[in-house]
């Protein structure tokens, strides 16, 4: 199953889980599945229009999905989706 890698700042939404596997064939449905299991993720990852937010990135197997097929990216078993929020602390 494709697996989301949850960054520290968002683990409060996933009950502390660092990785969440979901059953989904593409990224859009994977986010739906993640949100169904842990409500709140969709609002953090997608804006009101359902597009990825500008300050949270999704990397599918280490590649920025924005530069690929975005939410339409097909997923295969074993794929890893890293969620990378903008952080500014110094």
């Amino acid at each position: 199953m494709p697996t989301f890698l949850i960054p520290g700042p968002l683990r409060s939404l996933s009950a502390g889980a660092a990785a969440v596997a979901v059953e989904a064939a593409d990224l859009r449905s994977a986010i739906d599945a993640l949100d169904a299991r842990y409500p709140g993720f969709k609002g953090r990852l997608l804006d009101e229009e359902g597009e990825p937010r500008q300050f949270v990135n999704l990397f599918l197997n280490d590649e920025d999905v924005r530069l690929g097929r975005g939410l339409d990216s097909p997923l295969a078993p074993g794929d890893e989706i890293a969620i990378v929020p903008a952080v500014a602390g110094g």
Partner: protein
């Protein structure tokens, strides 16, 4: 200024670099002839500045407007208890000079803004972003791009860190390729609001110095075109690929950002971190 020969003191001081084939005499001279601008003498800037100074980077500019506050001391190791209330640039300069008198320290006690950023950036070979808020990070990214300076980027949040090198000339992407625009006010809490694990900036800031020196010396594979994510709770590192985004508002095919922007200081970051502790803690 680059020098041709080392003094006996320098031969001793840099002995462990000089015997490394990857550094050697030529590399050490290169470091002594390199100038680095450090944005922020805080959590990230402290270890970065100290290791760069110890390594013999010849000129280090320090940009910071703040004074040393008690809440800084849990992680900002440039500053000590005796420095409370002093300008951070003064405290930083003293620490750097004490580490290595070879280093020229230039103090820039100012708030970086669209008026002064380009002029300050132009005086250095490379810029290190250890700032603590989004407006300055976007300003630093854009100013580095417009002046053609490599930008060593590090950022932290609680137990997590990010690290990369943005190289304007390389076409390998910039901070805006990754995050095109800042989050709206309130969407992301600041360190002052969320807390930061004190050792974390030590790890990320040290790696910023490490990558800076690798980049200057042209050794190994610096983190150009890659974003390193550190998850302290798992002690895991992950390297993601960064590429230039054709839609990037700064370095894309049809840029909309053509000058510096002063974003509103929206991150909930006061000029100084609040030193007041929550009432419940103070009572304990």
């Amino acid at each position: 200024m680059a020098q041709l020969t080392f003094t006996p003191e320098q031969v001793q001081r840099y002995a462990r670099h000089l015997i490394l084939p990857e550094v050697g005499g030529a590399g050490q001279r290169k470091l002594l002839g390199t100038s680095v601008l450090l944005l922020g003498a805080g959590g990230l800037g402290s270890p970065a500045a100290m290791y760069l100074a110890a390594a013999g980077v010849g000129r280090i500019g320090v940009v910071d407007f703040d004074d040393v506050d008690a809440s800084n001391l849990q992680r900002q190791i440039l500053h000590g208890t005796d420095d409370l209330g002093r300008p951070k640039v003064d405290s930083a300069a003293d620490t750097i000079r004490s580490l290595n008198p070879d280093v020229e320290v230039v103090k820039h006690r100012l708030h970086l803004n669209s008026e002064n950023a380009l002029e300050v950036f132009r005086q250095y070979d490379l810029v290190i972003d250890g700032t603590d808020n989004f407006p300055t990070r976007y300003l630093a990214n854009d100013a580095a791009y417009f002046t053609g300076k490599p930008l060593v980027y590090g950022a932290i949040y609680r137990f997590e860190g990010q690290l990369s090198i943005f190289e304007p000339a390389g076409g390998t992407g910039c901070y805006r390729c990754l995050f095109p625009n800042p989050p709206p006010p309130g969407a992301v809490p600041s360190c002052a609001e969320a807390g930061v694990f004190g050792v974390l900036p030590g790890i990320i800031g040290s790696m910023m110095a490490f990558e800076t020196i690798k980049y200057v010396l042209g050794i190994g594979e610096p983190l150009v075109g890659r974003l390193l994510i550190f998850e302290g709770m798992d002690m895991s590192f992950r390297r993601l690929n960064l590429r230039r985004n054709p839609d990037c508002p700064l370095c894309g095919d049809d840029p909309s950002v053509t000058g510096l922007i002063d974003y509103e200081q929206f991150c909930g970051l006061p000029a100084q971190e609040p030193s007041a502790v929550p009432a419940a803690l103070a009572r304990q």
